[in-house]
Point group: C2
DNA sequence: CGGGACCCTGCGGGATCCCGCAGAAAATAT
DNA sequence: ATATTTTCTGCGGGATCCCGCAGGGTCCCG
């Protein structure tokens, strides 16, 4: 059994290495990659079915890497070890995890023991381990009390990218009016909507831009989510016949 | 001589601690704080004039902390030790550094020796040390070849917050038309401007929203910059007589 | 002093956005 | 199968945005 570490911070990498050797004596080899690209390649080459990786790396995003790795071998077990529990990350992960896959999500702030326990649970006992904090957010997010539909999230990303209503309609196969309906939904859920009576702060905010701002502040969006969306968008634009 | 570490990652904290002891044998005490708030307090209490801190901490942003620390004692020497060289960070730092202050900015990816050298330069020899990569960005940014004016950056932040033209005009004491002029400048510099002939991708993008997206992708803006701007904004809103 | 470079400002118009209203279509419940 | 809810859609109008055009300041230079 081999374990692959994908993590760009050398300190964290060596810490992980040590933790893995301590927690998994049956492991006979720990490999290290310092970014998503080489991580993917090494996963492919050495057929390691056990991976620990950081989200948020400079070169190539952890989620991107995980997606392609899982696409090639869905039975791979991945433990995400991240600094943050941004909704953007959690959503990004749950979007790509294959059905029935074993994975984990623990925060770097977790204790030593917790990490080791997670390692054993996932790699030995085939059991998912999601950090309590992350799990809580997941519940809130998907259990639709104040959570965002896939449709709403999608349109949020679209306006964050700077698309017009018309472009979004085209992309999502909707009428312009429907796009605007969804936007209204979004504005309401983000608490940005302005009932007409409000004289105080009326007209101060451009709803569209404001929605993106609060989404960022709430960490519903973050840099890597935006980056991912941007590459998706350019791919779509390229496929598009020029009007 | 005492040194104060402000850094939320325990691994990095202990690494720093070790590096400081090794590089500065004349140092007779290393203190640690795990977020900006306690960092500020400790800086105030123990009158340490030598600080090493991370930007990007969960609790309270490094830049915020540095600002208040420098406001209280401008002669404090601060070494910023950060993962990234986002333009938003660099700009944020250079905005708050007092005239004549000694400070440094080195990336976490720098070698051991580089860090130790920086520590000695700043704390012993009173010399500023800016990482080459950061310095490069600073030049490009301020030497106005493709760099952004303070005015342009300001209006970028304003639209990122979701303000309307009118609100911006009010806030910055300008006419609406002037705001729009600056926006046009911004659009051009961000490479978002659409000359009218372009039939291909004409009308796909909402310039205002697109500008914000591009700024984020280029790391001209990031979460902490936005957060800072948001608190400034709410302060201004509170000061504002209701219409 | 006149010319030039720059920024601020008003005007006007076309494009876009925001959204209430109301009917059609689809999904869901009873 | 019918009722109810949800979603999609067109229409229309007011607000906002985007920006060309032109006039008015300020500052600098010859």
């Amino acid at each position: 059994m081999k374990v692959l570490i994908i993590e760009d911070d050398p300190l964290h990498r060596s810490y992980l290495n040590e933790a893995i050797r301590a927690a998994l004596p049956e492991c006979d080899g720990v490999l290290e990659a310092e970014n998503g690209n080489t991580g993917e390649r090494m996963a492919r080459d050495c057929k390691s079915a056990h991976i620990v990786m950081d989200l948020q790396m400079g070169q190539r995003n952890g989620i991107e890497a995980a997606r392609t790795i899982w696409k090639e071998r869905p039975e791979t077990r991945i433990l995400f070890w991240s600094n943050y529990s941004d909704e953007a990350y959690v959503r990004g992960v749950s979007r790509i995890v294959p059905v029935g896959a074993v994975y984990g999500y623990v925060l770097k702030s977790a204790s030593d023991d917790r990490l080791k326990l997670a390692l054993r649970s996932i790699f030995i006992e085939s059991q998912c381990v999601i950090d309590r904090e992350v799990r809580g957010m997941q519940q809130r997010s998907l259990g639709n009390v104040n959570g965002f539909t896939e449709a709403e999230y999608e349109i949020l990303v679209d306006i964050a990218l700077g698309l017009t209503d018309r472009a979004i309609a085209q992309r999502r196969n909707l009428s312009v009016r429907s796009v605007q309906n969804r936007l209204q939904q979004l504005y309401i859920k983000l608490g940005v909507y302005q009932p007409l009576g409000n004289q105080d702060d009326d007209g101060r905010f451009n709803l569209r831009a404001r929605a993106v701002a609060v989404a960022f502040l709430r960490k519903l969006l973050n840099h890597s989510a935006l980056e991912r969306a941007e590459t998706d968008l350019t791919a779509w634009l390229a496929r598009q016949p020029h009007d």
